[in-house]
Symmetry: D2
Subunit: 510 residues, 4 copies
């Protein structure tokens, strides 16, 4: 993939891979070269997608009573896809492809491939139908029994962002398929080529080609398909602004991931200093801060401050480098926008630059992308809480920028006031082994994925526990059986009542 | 309660019962007399409600880590409220009060009281906290374990309709409270006096007065409170039109019950003829057809038709009478509106009046309410499916009106085409003990509460199984542990990670 | 109940209360007077009991498919029994009756009544059938679905001890009944009059009289009924020696509670000193140490020792008195036996009497019962571990006697060696808020009910969490839904497979 | 493997494969040649096994709090073992090896391999820890929460029979390992070479060699190891007589599979005649009747008899042949023993030979094994129920012999009397799509794995639903998450109670 030999991406509908009339160029984030030719579907090309959605029965492609052999087929596909991904060359292929579109450290890129593979392993063989298990309760008389079943939505939409080009679409589309839905899938155009390759691999291991449609290109065109196609539910992960608009457009038939302004609180008990500092750095700056779970604000108990945590953080951050992609291009904020935001923060009384705050040097990252040093701005706690400042301080910068602050024992209530005011509820961390301290913070907060304990972190979207926001009926989870059951199926109650008719039946009307 | 001695209803906010500046009269549905004086709050009176909502922490009044003793308090309140309702005089009080505002047969009214009482018994003692149980999964290393918890929304809205004045608000508000929410409750103004009495009973048995706010009056004013008060979730049961608007206004942060156009299919195996006929009559006409679960369309296999089911249905319906309230006033459709709709149906080619279709006589039901005989219109199946007719035939008349039709073995696919086209997915019935027949129908439909078997019915909202629609991410359930967990709480994952730090820790940045 | 007016107890079989040919006197534990006349059935009187057991179908009185209305009947009985027990006079009646047969402090006796009542509330209305819920998984083809159901044993035995005359039989017999079994119930003869009254109350609130049989008298006679009657399962709580014999006699068809030699470890972090000391005293000496969950050995970290815990414990214990029954008669060990055991302990090198060790004075407790001061013997840790000493130190004295010892940071492994060697696995406590310390102890032990944290205790058999041993396939739990499902029902899988037959069926034999 | 080149089997203890001092020859069941040299450990060689068992901590090799990374290791091992078994050559290897020791049709042998592989796939990646999930319930005050956990037994025994040499040991030993136990494994000596190969494959894919011990040879020696080694639980599948003895020897610390006298009832509704007949033949005679789930008695409704089912069964059975191993050697009953049993049955009044009843011809099966034609004996229902006959009729012949009988509508109660009297409760089938008929039979029976519906069968031990008996506290299941949780782990409750101490604490002693 390069300017001289660009990759040609394709779309999929009704089981056919095809090109659109026009196409658009995707720039290489490392040097701006047009290295991918992407389909660019226009409104007049969407009809097949709309009809494909509309043709899906609302009882889905399968459900506990319909085509149950498809649960097993997906157990088989999932297992075989995992088997492919255990091959060194396939793992490397996805790792390197990932890095080309979202430059990040090899460890970070590879983790995404590994999590995806383990997720697939989790749903081998009988596990899809085990996930769709029902429950039954005896009725009021012989012959009656009620069954709570998990039913698919049928046609569904799935829109995912740029920062995890493999993991998010892979886990969500498989979840949709396991439960009997037919998804229309769209991934952010900058990175959608990765999921295309994943889908082609699924075909290779046996997935029927008509089981999902895939559309690369302009998000607005996809929005139009969703409006016309009436998916019964749509999962959206991406910018909170688009999410809120989509919620209105689709009348609330959505599951959303939340904005990612994530906090970390360091408790009064200082221990494992180097480890905690390292984890802070990873949470704030790994993948150049482009995780929805990135640490955006750090509340340090004075005990940590007096131990010199800030200097330690600066030291670690200073070792990040373009060379190994421990820092890299920012895809949705330009350098100017990020430094401009930092400048605004610095105007708050008492605020100061802790470290960073400068553009990266010696690179060919194109101008529309951002490139700055890992940056931390210290803002006094009492200033953060002020109405004028709060919104600015808690604006999510989707790049390597965090706010840090300090609190004393007496100021814990102010910290909790800040977490109460925050409207983003994705991840959080309470770094402390003090049982009563963590209990208090956890009891008074609602972030969907909250780590507690001295090894607490804000980042981590593994396949083994819920990852997603809390506190919103539209909240989506990803990857675990509970998340898939919630997002990709609904409750249906079937009550068998086969008789016999009661012996004393007398037909009184009421 | 009469014109000479009208009841005076009151509102509740911040623990205080109070009157509004103005008030409005509620007419007795049996004779039009103003028998209730209802609060009529205006926009300039809503501030306390808005502030009360806003003051609720998003972590709720309690959650698995905060004030867990409140789960037990609600187990105690629930048990004591049930104990009250087991007293003959209290049961009679609610039964009669119910009948005054929604005239229905004593059996129908009493069933609502009984279901409410059994629901309360279900959540005695430890059951609220058992319902809020979490699960835990071991982590990747010693000291790590993830916990999936049920977290409250905090401030919530709850709006319920006229037809079940006790059961729906009681079950939903208790569900909200069990899980740690503080609800603002509003019930349709025509019947809201019933829930007021229920709330007063809760206070009597120990519920803190500030645990919920109750507002009677104009629904639009309540809409404004919800807009300004930012409840984190709102449960709405009522007209589908209002529901869809609310979904947009509240950006999808809603749980909704669905429209109630419910179908019943009689299968090929005719048995228990009298029982099935009686159940059809009950499903269509009990409570004068004013149940969201009422049978709106009946697909009869030809085998039933040839046995004379239609005549049998007419016979049974003819015995319904104002005397014992087996038929009574319709609160949301006037006589003219219902008969006008019947006329339109009769213009469909092949359509004919099976029975009914006339105004009731000899009553004092006020003009704004409806009063007609139990009515059935036969429409040929092929006509039902036509685009022009389908919407009309499937319009929900919230009164004693149903459509009936016939199908042969070869026409089952047309019946399933009709159920696929229908957008209402609340209840349904497949009346058959033919295992392969019911399997096929169930596999290809999605109604949330579907009865199958020779004793199948469309009505019935007991406390022991899920009642609610399926096929929509906004779908609400009521009364069961699963429904309450879904509607009144969300998933929060807390991952404990207390260490120790890995022995080989080397601090490599990625 | 007194010598002049003794209570006359009766047995129940086939729905009839009746006297036996002979009877025996039960002495008042406070003064030795014969205050109860107990049935004394002989071998030639057991036939009705044997036949009653044998006549129970193995599919039980009800199961998810048979007589499901009985689940609701028991929901009703449970709720009504709780309602009775909420009456002050009924609560007092059971509290006082309890105290007469097992003299203990009013708080201790009343707690037993309260726990029983809350347990009953927990299984009101639909909760018995909710507890018996099944699960379903889709099969390999349309028409197939497997259902995991909870099935009763049918005829069962239930034998319970003297120390909780109400709570243990009440919770276990109700559990047996909820799940569809018919139990033969026997309670230790010294206290069986309490359960008789409880059963009579159940009859009063609607339990069919033939649903359980109750036999008071000689345990050996009951053993013979069990051998001849072939209960399909038997729950035994009582002496470990009898338990092991019964396990052999009934070929392992038993659930057992374990011996109660329970340990407590005080961790390195000293806090809440007074509270922890008080809890230690309660755990060791409340109910005169006659709880299977009583603290039998206390491992004190040196930090606690140096704070003076031993003296504090002595102070608290010294306030216990016959006057308010904070100390009282011991029903299964005589004074001589207990003091003899203490003497043996004191012969271990380094052992010394920490406090107590003397007979109580000024009482009329009859000689066959015991009466001594709360007693603690300090034994050095290294001596405890020695083979000759270990069995003696870890012999459960069912009275107010405990062993205390001390360990340093380096000796934690010796403490864990002791807990590993112990064969009793009922309750335990790790008193520490040090996350890594508790993690380590919990990870390496197996006691069934283990409290951890600074408020940890060994006693407490509430109705809201599992109480029972771990580490033995015969382990019984009590009172919670999980315990009842385990002990009083089994898994039955029913796989529906209604067809259709596969289209390509060719009948190849394999 | 042949007489000229016999296979040399080995035992495994403490991670070392080794030979015993002596060895024994295993005859080829097709020709009697000594084709395997088996270890033959004597009592003086068992010490390492005993010590290995005794050295396992009772908290297991891992548990939810100890070494949780081992759950993931086993997810990995399970996945990799499945990957191996998907290789054609490995599948063929096990299929052929199986057939050498238990000659059966390729389809039957291959199914065993497939089920084992799918089972392994089911527990890939995170599924072992998901299976070990705990649940949590809030406590009575802040800081308290109870957790119900799944704890291993630690050292366990596992003894499995000859008829499924791969599936039963593989599923059970992996279940034991997943949950943290260390098993001592023994398989019937005639077939134990298969499991040896499976264990070597596990080592190949990463299982630590010390994680299980494997002993081939004499069952009595194994019994001695179990007595001395004190496994905390033992799973035994095999003869009911040995099972009952083991239950006594191990004091009930066992899980058992039941005897396999399995019934099938054909209901009144005759349909899919050829299919049902074929399934009857498969259930009775596949694997030469050597399945614990084989159909041992067939109750035919008269409607089936009058359609000529018996002749049809005879026709199908007559096509079974040694050539393709649709009939083959019987390993535990000699020809004489089986035909002698048939003769006894034929002496019952009204009994007659339906078909079969002759020795197989033209084979080299050694004399100690059996070889007869598929055989059915008709016995009149009223005779079956007679006391003298019942035990004989219901004796399980572990070979191709079944009893058939007939009943009319009026005689259903006699059929149910027979199923009630039967003491074997493994599998059963109710072949009928009549909802009320199957409901009645299912409600009144207790077989652990019961199929119902027109496609019902008695055989089938897949990995996706419970397989095992019901009605006995010692009942073992196999392969599903529920079975593994039950058989290979127990409930442990850990209650965290970290404070704070109640503010009004006053230290009153009770």
């Amino acid at each position: 993939m390069s300017a001289s030999s660009p990759a040609q991406a394709q779309n999929l509908v009704n089981g056919e891979w095809h090109n659109t009339k026009g196409s658009r160029d995707i720039p290489d984030p490392m040097n701006g070269e047009a290295f991918i030719k992407l389909p660019d579907p226009q409104i007049d090309e969407i009809q097949p997608y709309v009809e494909s959605l509309r043709s899906v029965p609302k009882s889905g492609m399968h459900n506990p009573l319909k085509n149950p052999e498809r649960y097993n087929m997906y157990g088989d596909i999932s297992m075989r896809a995992a088997e492919e991904m255990r091959k060194k060359e396939v793992e490397d292929f996805f790792t390197h492809l990932l890095q080309r579109v979202v430059p990040k450290h090899d460890t970070q890129a590879r983790a995404e491939v590994t999590v995806t593979r383990r997720f697939l392993e989790n749903f081998s063989a009988d596990q899809p139908r085990f996930m769709a298990r029902s429950f039954g309760v005896s009725g009021d008389h012989a012959g009656q029994m009620s069954h709570g079943m998990r039913w698919p939505w049928g046609p569904v939409g799935l829109v995912t962002p740029f920062n995890f080009p493999l993991e998010i679409p892979a886990l969500q589309l498989m979840g949709a398929l396991f439960m009997g839905n037919k998804p229309l899938v769209h991934v952010d155009h900058r990175v959608s080529i990765v999921a295309e390759q994943f889908i082609r691999m699924l075909h290779h291991v046996g997935m029927p080609k008509t089981d999902l449609d895939y559309i690369q290109g302009n998000g607005k065109v996809v929005g139009e398909i969703l409006k016309q196609g009436h998916p019964r539910s749509t999962l959206f992960t991406g910018s909170q602004k688009v999410a809120e608009q989509l919620a209105v457009d689709l009348k609330g038939k959505v599951y959303l991931e939340d904005a990612g302004f994530d906090w970390k609180i360091l408790g009064p008990d200082v221990m494992d200093f180097d480890y905690v500092a390292w984890q802070c750095d990873q949470d704030a700056y790994a993948a150049t801060g482009q995780k929805c779970s990135a640490q955006s604000i750090l509340f340090q108990h004075s005990n940590w401050v007096s131990k010199g945590l800030e200097k330690k953080l600066a030291d670690i951050a200073s070792k990040r480098s373009m060379d190994n992609l421990t820092v890299g291009p920012v895809l949705t904020w330009s350098t100017e926008a990020m430094l401009g935001h930092v400048d605004k923060l610095l105007k708050i009384p008492g605020a100061r630059l802790a470290f960073g705050g400068k553009p990266l040097k010696g690179h060919s990252i194109p101008k529309q992308y951002g490139a700055i040093e890992p940056t931390a701005v210290f803002v006094p706690l009492q200033e953060i809480l002020k109405d004028g400042n709060f919104e600015m301080v808690t604006t999510e910068v989707f790049g390597p920028v965090q706010v840090i602050t300090e609190y004393s024992d007496e100021q814990l209530s102010m910290v909790l006031e800040a977490t109460e005011k925050l409207e983003a509820h994705l991840t959080a961390a309470v770094v402390s082994n003090d049982a009563q301290f963590t209990q208090k913070v956890l009891a008074n907060t609602v972030n969907g994925t909250t780590y507690a304990g001295i090894r607490a972190r804000t980042t981590g979207a593994p396949q083994n526990h819920w990852f997603g926001p809390a506190g919103d009926p539209r909240s989506a989870g990803i990857g675990t059986p509970e998340a898939i059951r919630l997002v990709w199926s609904c409750h249906r109650e079937i009550i068998n009542d086969v008789g016999p008719v009661p012996s004393g039946f007398n037909g009184v009307t009421t």
